[in-house]
Amino acid sequence: MGLRTGTFHENYAQDMAIFHSGLQWVIVASFVVLIFACPLFLSDRILTILTMMGIAVISVHGLNILTGYCGQISIGHAGFMAVGGYTSAILCAKLGLPFWAALPCGALAAGIAGLIFGLPSLKIKGFYLIMATIAAHFIIIWTIIQLRPITGGTDGLSVPRPAIGSISLGTKTNYFYVVMVLACLATLLAKNIVRTRAGRAFIAIRDNDLAAEVMGISLWNYKLQAFFIGCVYAGVAGALLIHYYSFASVDQFPFMDSVWYLGMLIVGGMGSTTGAIFGAVALKLMDELVTIAGPILSAIVAPQAAASLALISHGLVIILFLIFEPRGLHHRWEMIRAYFRLWPFSHEAAE
């Protein structure tokens, strides 16, 4: 069955379905197969980039649930990643826990940190919440540096190479598979979370918190749930990042990363799981372009051009998207899809 011209949903279940046609199943399935076949024909360098993209996708999914769906803006996401990453790293390095056991513990710790720093969201919103989450980031990083006996402070902490059973995950290929499996699971989970009762509550809170509360949605409950879920995602991503390098350092979680995760969300399109993937992939791709173009520009213009190119390009991308495409790449993608779905008509006929 191919794609049909127009929308033919007759009930709620059809409207909420993830896959609307058989063809969509085929496309998604072949995309997943393609990803998992990547190590067969791609070099280690590209696998590294894809692994980093996978980690970013997981992190942005979390931020998307928190900010895109529930409307609670957080510019402390890298801080929560650091909580997850460091918890997992300490459990591995100091207590000798295996990788697969430390990862969920890290995620849980990040979730709890999210609950604590999410508490102000019950009293404040908008800009105040932004400031509170920025402060959360700096306080988390400062605490990690101060807890030198446990975390190694500014020197960092080396972590044993991850392994599951007897399979070492030290190789790029194996780690790539782990990250991709988790990224696919995270995507599936994110897609489903927003279709549940909680997901609908998040959207109601984002669109109008007063109306949501009047309808009987407990703001206290659902805002904290959103913080918890978003930060669990961040914790998983942070743990994956630290285990990839086998080294934990606060430099892996700079403040600007918190901003770029929000940037990925804006570039991809807020409040859309597909958009989160688009945004993460697009900005990571741009990072790579900048890494390639930076040295060339440095040689031609000035030695500091590489550093400034990274800053300016990130800033400019966000500025241009905010002005010209505030709904992000996801909206473009929907428009392209609609064009083909409705062809040869230009738009859907009104009922």
Partner: protein
């Protein structure tokens, strides 16, 4: 006691500069409800502009000040027209992300033009010496204090006695009424950005004259946020008082506690601790408008 008073006096002068920078933030917020995260980067640009005009170009202080202000005016106008005007009526996240993006672009430009290096122009600003009993007031602090007070008085006069000042106060009060009596809000927005950028740049020159221009200057913006949150985001007087309080507290805390803490650097996290405490216990700050709003 002398040590304590010395810290207080230095803190007072430093706090006035913080207050000056914070005022730029408050003016933009009051007029256009935009939270300008890039305020600290105006300071950064100011510090480097001061260096450029004073050292490589060798201009006198008054010409430096005039040229820097002119640059700041152009910068403010461009930013408002190109970046903020398309976002009128957009949600708060879009606006905040825009100012964050603006801050990285400004940081990137500063890196490109001045190479993110430390540029000192210590002693280029005029010197004034004042001794109060056993306390000596550092010349740079005194200059900072005087310039800040002049700027603040100028702003007060602007708001009280000029037509545009009245328009700005009216816009802060009620946008719809202002539009219905024929005041163009876009002009008000542009003027508020120009003022913010000018006070930021002046603050940058003052701070650069003390500690030299480097990328760290942008971090002053974070202290300005703590100042505005403490004073109440929509209160000019609150910003001045909170600036003085924070400057003094920071100096006294650093003076007494830093030798006790192994890592030191308390003044680095100090603004954030203040910020969280204020946000939890008194979100509207000391003098801010208490908005009754369900969250």
């Amino acid at each position: 006691m002398t040590f304590f008073l010395q810290l207080v006096v230095t803190g007072l002068a430093q706090g006035m500069v913080y207050a000056l920078i914070a005022i730029g933030f408050v003016i933009i917020l009051k007029c256009s409800e935009v939270f300008n995260i890039a305020q600290g980067h105006f300071v950064l640009i100011g510090g480097y502009l001061g260096y450029t005009f004073l050292v490589p170009l060798g201009l006198p202080v008054w010409a430096t000040l005039l040229l820097s202000i002119a640059t700041a005016v152009i910068m403010g106008l461009l930013i408002e027209r190109l970046m903020l005007r398309p976002l009128v009526g957009q949600p708060v996240l879009a606006v905040v992300m825009m100012t964050i993006a603006l801050s990285t672009v400004l940081g990137g430009l500063a890196t490109l033009i001045w190479g993110a290096e430390y540029k000192a122009y210590h002693g280029m600003l005029p010197t004034l010496n004042l001794k109060l009993g056993s306390i000596s007031v550092p010349s740079e602090s005194l200059i900072g204090l005087i310039v800040s007070i002049i700027c603040m008085v100028a702003l007060m006069l602007l708001f009280r006695y000029t037509k545009i000042g009245l328009a700005m106060r009216a816009t802060a009060e009620d946008l719809q009424v202002v539009q219905s009596v024929g005041i163009k809000p876009t002009t008000v927005y542009a003027v508020s950005w120009v003022i913010a950028s000018v006070v930021g740049v002046i603050g940058g020159i003052l701070l650069g004259g003390v500690s030299g221009a480097n990328m760290e200057l942008a971090g002053i913006g974070l202290k300005a946020f703590a100042v505005v949150l403490l004073g109440g985001v929509n209160s000019l007087g609150g910003a001045i008082l909170a600036g003085i309080i924070l400057g003094m507290l920071e100096n006294v805390a650093a003076g007494y506690l830093d030798p006790l803490l192994p890592g030191g650097g308390l003044s680095q996290v100090f603004p954030f601790i203040v910020m969280i405490i204020v946000l939890i216990f008194r979100p509207h700050g000391l003098f801010g408008l208490v908005t009754i709003e369900r969250v």
